[in-house]
């Protein structure tokens, strides 16, 4: 066993003294796919850093965090990109992250505080979106405008399970933030609208496109994909009074062997070269609006004034109780 450890140590050491420094970024799977932002980001950053940028992908945001916890301080990651604000308190509690030391001005709606400010010392945002129910304009005549209206209607929906997917968790927090103690009641009302609950976004969106439900829990920017990539304007997002946000963030590992490169990457992340590829690859709003503006389909229908977001530290306290309410209401 000891020999193996030594051998592994030798290999790692040779890796570290190689001529080109390597910056390892852990991110979720769809970020690095050929259609995600990964390839363009890699090219742009490598052109200016004189380094080798290496993406390592693991499932989604929650899987990333689980993987970091499994690896602990031995992780090869220098930067983790793809956690969201529902996970950052838990991620900060691991003690694996180091402060980024930056104070950027961002175009991320900030329901709790001053517009443009970003106060998290460990994590920086790179994109964000509103959770929303997406429907087909040609098939759904009466679009509900709130959870209550949805519950009272016979409109069918597909949602994701909060235990296995980040949009599912987002919906759970949306209902909790909007209705507080009435959340269980709202879920009980929604029960007969829910066709099924899927393990992840892929299954839910697939079921929706197959016509299994009138609406699916996705993002307010999902219709923009169909509009821009497929010239199909049939999809739209239902506008509710308020929409829960997902803010996707990145952070630097305390155990990184490339601290300067990691800092440079985080600064690059908020620059135009990175931000301008986000809308049409990750189909989310960029954290800093690019100089060229946003593509068609990204204007509306949800306005920043409608944004709600629980502070990360509040999520930790509410999550388990909200999940228990959800399970109890839907298991009846």
């Amino acid at each position: 066993m000891r020999h193996l450890a030594i051998a592994a140590g030798v290999f790692l050491a040779t890796d570290a003294v190689a001529e080109t420094p390597v910056l390892t970024i852990y991110t979720y799977d769809s970020f690095v796919s050929d259609w995600g932002p990964g390839p363009a980001v890699e090219t742009a950053f490598e052109a200016e850093c004189g380094c080798d940028l290496r993406f390592v992908s693991a499932g989604d945001g929650a899987a990333l965090l689980a993987r970091l916890k499994l690896e602990g301080a031995r992780s090869e990651a220098d930067v983790v990109l793809g956690l969201d604000t529902a996970l950052t308190a838990e991620a900060a509690a691991t003690g694996l992250f180091a402060p980024h030391g930056q104070s950027p001005v961002v175009d991320v709606p900030n329901p709790a505080g001053e517009a443009g400010a970003w106060s998290d010392p460990l994590f920086l945002p790179y994109d964000w979106g509103y959770f929303a129910f997406v429907y087909d304009k040609g098939k759904l005549a009466h679009v509900p405008a709130s959870f209550e209206e949805l519950a009272a209607s016979d409109v069918s929906i597909v949602i994701e399970d909060p235990r296995s997917s980040t949009p599912g968790l987002g919906l759970l927090l949306w209902v909790k933030a909007e209705y507080g103690d009435r959340a269980g009641e709202i879920w009980a009302g929604l029960k007969d609208n829910i066709v099924t609950v899927t393990p992840g976004w892929s299954e839910a969106y697939g079921l929706f496109l197959e016509g299994e439900a009138d609406m699916v829990l996705s993002y307010s920017t999902s219709p923009a994909y169909h509009l821009i990539a497929e010239s199909d304007d049939s999809k739209a997002a239902a506008v509710f009074p308020r929409h829960y946000m997902q803010v996707e963030v990145a952070g630097k590992l305390a155990g990184t062997d490339q601290p300067e490169l990691a800092d440079r990457f985080l600064a690059f992340m908020l620059s135009d070269a990175f931000q301008s590829v986000i809308p049409t690859t990750n189909w989310m709003y960029p954290a800093v609006t690019p100089e060229a503006g946003l593509p068609d389909g990204f204007a509306g229908p949800v306005a920043p004034g409608q944004a709600i977001l629980l502070p990360p530290e509040a999520v930790t306290g509410l999550r388990d109780g909200a999940l228990a309410e959800w399970r109890a209401a839907l298991s009846q």
Partner: protein, 510 residues
């Protein structure tokens, strides 16, 4: 059995059993070791245990009972396209879950063919979501496996027995009692055990079609323990519960199975006089037609959707296809070596792959490897090995009874002739086992093609398998290209399956 062959067989068997046990149980121990194992409670999980057991029992009974008439019909009828049909009937079993579910929905879903037909004749729509959907999907996946296992049982009854029974003027009922019932008692418990264990670890099917959190299975609870709560101790306890349930089922199945005593025959296919009447013909035709419709319609929809997407697929999909085929072939070789070794000694160990949670094995291996090397660097060998272990139960289920039968029927003769080692393999075993070996190899290859579980955890930035690529396409909204990739996956899986399965049946009138 010959002493020499036994000695070698025993050694290989124990070595294989040791490999399987270490590769699958050490990860479980590693996960438990990370946490305060003893403190984890189970009280909140009884609902999940109950639902898991209930749906698994229903799914297993349905799959196995429906397989009997279908297998009997296939065993005693000859018709054009029979071989192709048997190959195609194997397809649902090897489909990635999401592809199969979308195929099923195209037939049984809200806007599917069935509800369209019902609406046309003036009946209300039926809903697939709920326990009925979970069982339907599990039967869709497992009926083909059960059918093939039972079909082999039927083909294992020497033709001379049927001829003798016919010449003795036995009635159909007598023939069933004397010949077919003993075979079923030998074969069905094993098939049921495999399917039961498979349904126990169901996660995506049960959740997607179950309709909500009432359909929480143990595997989902394990997933939650890892991702939502990051409670490794809880995950390990749940994995242990799953192991005990599957182990209990295995013990029960082995207790029920009664070995058949047909004695040796001349391996010839013989006309089945008792099946000549009009009623048996109609029953058989009905069974085949219904099974074919149930299994092939959803597949047809997968093909139909996929055709348009083939052109939309980027070149990387083809690279991923190559990676998948290569890994599937290596994995198949490993499965066969393990299965043939375990078929003689330590068979029970081979079924471990069914009983341990894939999520726990993957995470445990990650924990074991991480202190010594980068898990990503070992992604390919780990994926191949785990796929081989997960396919092993199916290969073993197919091979073990056949090997035992051949040894029981001809072993003494071969011993008397002093056939050992290579000669025994070449002249006794290979000619009689090539059909099950081909089938087992086909199953293993196809299963390895469709696997997503482990590779996702170890995913390397430099390569991807075809199922992973398909998920990436869906994640990027590229549903059309994903449908094309699904069709490619289906085609390649079936192609590999057919090659091996056909290879095993060359020169043999099946």
């Amino acid at each position: 059995m010959a002493r020499g062959a036994v000695a070698i067989g025993r050694l290989g068997g124990w070595a294989a059993a040791g490999f399987v046990a270490v590769a699958l149980l050490a990860p479980l121990a590693a996960v438990a070791w990370q946490a305060e194992f003893a403190r984890a409670g189970l009280s909140a999980d009884w609902g999940a245990v109950r639902f898991t057991l209930w749906q698994a029992v229903l799914s297993t009974l349905m799959s196995v009972l429906l397989a009997v008439p279908v297998a009997r019909a296939l065993a005693r009828r000859r018709f054009a396209g029979r071989g192709l049909l048997i190959t195609l009937l194997g397809a649902p079993f090897i489909l990635p879950v999401i592809v199969a579910v979308l195929g099923l929905l195209a037939v049984f879903g809200r806007g599917g063919l069935l509800n369209a037909a019902l609406g046309w004749v003036g009946l209300g729509p039926v809903s697939i979501y709920g326990l009925q959907g979970v069982v339907l999907a599990h039967v869709f996946f497992n009926l083909p496996l059960a059918t093939r296992i039972v079909l082999m049982g039927w083909q294992g009854i020497p033709g001379e027995r049927f001829r003798l029974a016919a010449s003795l003027g036995m009635s159909r009922a007598q023939m069933f009692r004397m010949l077919e019932l003993p075979m079923l008692r030998d074969v069905l418990p094993g098939a049921a055990m495999v399917i039961f264990a498979l349904c126990l670890s169901s996660f995506a099917v049960a959740l997607t079609l179950g309709g909500g959190p009432a359909a929480t299975t143990l595997e989902l609870a394990i997933y939650q323990a890892f991702r939502f709560d990051f409670d490794l101790g809880h995950a390990a306890v749940l994995a242990l519960v799953q192991l005990v349930l599957a182990g209990g089922a295995a013990a029960l199945a082995l207790g029920f199975a009664v070995p058949t005593g047909f004695g040796p025959g001349l391996d010839r296919v013989v006309r089945r006089w008792e099946a000549d009447g009009l009623v048996p013909r109609l029953i058989d035709a009905g069974a085949i037609a219904l099974a074919a419709a149930f299994l092939l319609l959803p597949l047809g929809m997968v093909v139909w959707r996929g055709l348009g997407g083939i052109a939309a697929m980027p070149a990387t999909v083809w690279q991923a296809a190559l990676v998948s085929v290569g890994m599937a072939l290596v994995s198949t070789g490993l499965t066969l070596v393990l299965a043939l070794s375990l078929a003689r000694r330590g068979e029970l160990w081979g079924y471990l792959g069914l009983a341990v949670s894939p999520m726990v094995v993957g995470t445990g291996l990650f924990l074991l490897i991480n202190p010594f090397a980068s898990p990503m660097a070992l992604a390919a060998p780990v994926t191949v090995a785990v796929n081989a272990l997960m396919a092993l139960p199916f290969s073993l289920r197919v091979l073990a009874p056949e090997l035992r039968r051949v040894e029981a029927d001809f072993g003494r003769l071969a011993d008397g002739l002093g056939m050992r080692g290579w000669a025994r393999w070449r002249w006794l075993l290979w000619p009689r086992l090539r059909r099950p070996i081909g089938f087992a190899a086909g199953l293993s290859a196809a299963l390895a093609m469709g696997d997503l579980g482990v590779v996702a955890l170890f995913a390397s930035p430099d390569w991807a398998t075809l199922p992973l690529m398909m998920f990436r396409l869906i994640g990027a909204y590229r549903m059309e290209a994903a449908a094309g990739a699904a069709l490619l996956l289906l085609g390649l899986s079936l192609g590999l399956f057919w090659l091996f399965d056909r290879g095993g049946r060359v020169d043999v009138d099946a």
